[in-house]
């Protein structure tokens, strides 16, 4: 063979190439900059602050907005938290709330609703989905007011009015079944997210595939079981993981509904505790430091779940390399 061709890549070309790459990187960082700044200001710095607050005893009695003047007390807040006799109950309450609401409403009912609304007349489907979205777009205050009215004691409660009409005894539902109340009220809000994701996933299944299965002789139920459900496996997983985290951090509805009661922490969940301790004068004294300890633990749980959830979602497949290169 002929002699090896001398590498014609001159150093000038190399410099030019490096310069081009750098320029293109700078361009990319330019695109990332606004998001990056917001993330730093409203996620990273606050995380640092909340970590710091959790090792101080900042409360409304010794409030200062100067971070340097706060009193450092080490891990005392965490110690208090672990020794808190109600922390255990609140922890299990949270697990109960997330698991039950998620499985009954955010996933199951959402799936049922999206399957039902995609198997009827298309415009009717739109109407039903619009109605299901109502709880999410109604102001929580009014939404909770509706449910309180629904469950109220006779003669004001709607349910008890039905009971009276049917000659049945009336109940004080909120007092006897607070958890049912909390789960159902949050569940009806939670349905819409899954419903939208599932519906759009079902709608994006190629029509040929759906028709083919009917031609192959499957009934509509069998088609749901053997074609549709396997095809929406990923959105299902997505809704499960995403809604787990949403439920974990949602507390506004519970606060308005039962405020963690009745009785001692009967329906209190972790994020509500963080809020109570830090922002509401639950004990006449907002304990910002102690509340932050609760928040830090919740942040940690959230991040751990998110990492697991990235593994489940096969993160590597999301980062396919761009097919345009910097010269």
């Amino acid at each position: 063979m002929s002699e090896p061709v001398a590498k014609p890549k001159s150093s000038a070309a190399l410099v030019q190439s490096r310069r081009n790459a750098l320029r293109s990187y700078l361009g990319a960082y330019g695109f990332m900059a606004p998001a990056g700044v917001l993330v730093i200001i409203f996620f990273l710095i606050p995380v640092a602050i909340v970590l710091y607050l959790s090792v101080t005893n900042l409360a409304s009695s010794n409030f200062t907005s100067d971070l340097a003047k706060m009193e450092f007390i080490g891990l005392k807040n965490y110690q208090t938290l672990l020794n808190d006799q109600f922390a255990r109950k609140i922890f299990f309450n949270t697990i109960f709330y997330v698991l039950v609401t998620l499985s009954l409403f955010n996933v199951s009912l959402a799936l049922i609703v999206s399957l039902l609304t995609t198997h009827i007349d298309r415009s009717a489907g739109f109407v039903f989905r619009a109605l299901w979205i109502l709880p999410r777009i109604t102001s929580p205050v009014v939404y909770i007011l509706i449910w309180k009215r629904m469950m109220a004691e006779a003669p004001f409660g709607i349910l008890n009015q039905f009971n009276e009409f049917l000659g049945q005894p009336t109940y004080n539902y909120v007092a006897t079944n607070p958890w049912v109340f909390v789960v159902v009220v949050n569940g009806f809000i939670g349905v819409s997210f899954g419903m939208i994701i599932f519906t759009s996933a079902i709608e994006s299944i190629p029509k040929d595939l759906l028709n083919a299965s009917l031609v192959d002789g499957s009934s509509r139920m069998q088609r749901i079981r053997y074609v549709i459900l396997p095809l929406i496996r990923w959105p299902l997983l997505f809704v499960v993981t995403y809604q787990t985290l949403s439920l974990l951090t949602s507390f506004v509805e519970i606060q308005l509904l039962t405020d963690g009661g009745p009785g001692l922490y009967r329906t209190e969940v972790w994020s509500l505790t963080a809020y109570h301790r830090a922002l509401s004068n639950y004990f006449g004294n907002a304990q910002w430091g102690y509340g932050s300890a609760f928040a830090v633990l919740l942040v940690m749980i959230g991040v751990v779940l998110a990492v697991i959830y990235m593994r489940v979602f096969r993160f590597d497949e999301l980062v396919a390399e761009p097919r345009v290169e910097a010269l």
Partner: protein, 360 residues
């Protein structure tokens, strides 16, 4: 514009797109890159366009090394398989977009777009949007957009593969005609060898990231330098058969099982020099069904193509594709005699797959 590609290598991580490609394209030439999907032809094209950065090697447009030149500064026009028309812009805006980016004055834009549109025969469609156009019209718009900035080089990435057969035929002629008139150096990527054969001045056949041959269409067809080229160029494809070539009665004989074919001296000598079996290739049009012939076989399938029948003849374990007159009305199961025109037979080394007849 003359294009010189020297030792071009493009890798994606560990995956080789194209390796050590050297190719010199004359000014005004129409070159086709031909090969099966994944052979590296589109990768080469996109590297020429400046979308991919070469891992190694040099690309020159004229005297200028363009390795690090941005796509917009290469003055190229490109037509994509999907046309890549901007769906939210009208046809006028689509064609005018390159001019707008060059900051050409409005009236110049206007005039040039109309001129190009008239050449492409889409003058009436300028107010429509791509979605309202047929495939052939979209194709013309894409071509118009590539031409409007008067590029030095035109790049085509399988532009006709989304069109129906009839339209493909028309567009084939139009593109070739246009290219000859304008004299723009053009590179045309395709996996359809008919397209490459009919349109290109020269064809670069590629496989597995390597250049197999770079020659004029006739040359590739008559004197294929590798077995791959022989098999890829020509439709229906060439028949291949492992044979042993030995001298007999001053002539030569190519043998495989019961098949014995007499061979001329020139081809015989070239292939008999090789010990063991060699790969013989023979094109379907070089096999005839005759009343009395050297070899007998049974017809397995008849595929009517209209003008002629494509016939699969089985001889023992071997299968040959050939073409026959439809009037003969051959039927599956029929026993026939075949005559092989051995003056057209090709011979290849079974290991290197290089031709034993045409050395580089």
């Amino acid at each position: 514009m003359e294009i010189r590609i020297d030792n071009l290598t493009k890798k994606f991580g560990d995956v080789v797109g194209v390796e050590d490609l050297t190719l010199h394209i004359e000014d005004g030439e129409f070159v086709a890159f031909l090969g099966p999907s994944g052979c590296g032809k589109t990768t080469t094209l996109l590297t020429l366009a400046g979308i991919y950065k070469p891992t190694d090697g040099l690309i020159r447009f004229g005297d200028r090394v363009v390795n690090t030149v941005q796509p917009k500064d290469r003055n190229i026009g490109m037509v994509f398989q999907s046309y890549a028309l901007y769906p939210h812009m009208t046809i006028f805006q689509n064609i005018a977009y390159p001019l707008k980016l060059k900051k050409a004055p409005k009236n110049v834009q206007n005039e040039q777009v109309r001129q190009v549109a008239n050449v492409m025969g889409i003058g009436e469609l300028l107010d429509r949007r791509p979605g309202q156009l047929s495939g052939g019209q979209q194709q013309r718009v894409a071509l118009g957009r590539a031409l409007v900035k008067e590029p030095d080089v035109l790049l085509f990435d399988e532009p006709l593969s989304n069109l129906d057969a009839r339209l493909r035929l028309t567009m084939r002629g139009e593109i070739k005609h246009l290219q000859k008139n304008l004299g723009i150096t053009s590179i045309y990527v395709t996996h359809d060898q008919v397209e490459a054969m009919t349109m290109a001045d020269r064809i670069a056949v590629m496989n597995g990231g390597h250049l197999q041959a770079f020659d004029a269409p006739d040359e590739l067809y008559d004197r294929p330098k590798t077995r791959f080229v022989a098999g890829f160029v020509g439709n229906p494809p060439m028949n291949f058969l492992d044979v042993e070539v030995s001298p007999a009665n001053g002539q030569f004989l190519a043998q495989a099982d019961s098949i014995e074919l007499p061979l001329g001296v020139e081809r015989g000598e070239a292939s008999a020099g090789h010990r063991g079996t060699v790969v013989m290739g023979i094109r379907p049009e070089d096999i005839q069904i005759v009343d009395e012939g050297d070899v007998r076989g049974e017809i397995f399938v008849v595929e009517p193509l209209g003008r002629e029948d494509l016939i699969d003849v089985r001889i023992g374990p071997h299968s040959f594709i050939l073409l026959a007159d439809t009037e003969k009305q051959h039927r599956a199961g029929e026993l026939v005699s075949l005559n092989f025109d051995m003056t057209q037979a090709q011979f290849f080394d079974p290991q290197t797959e290089r031709s034993l007849l045409w050395h580089q």
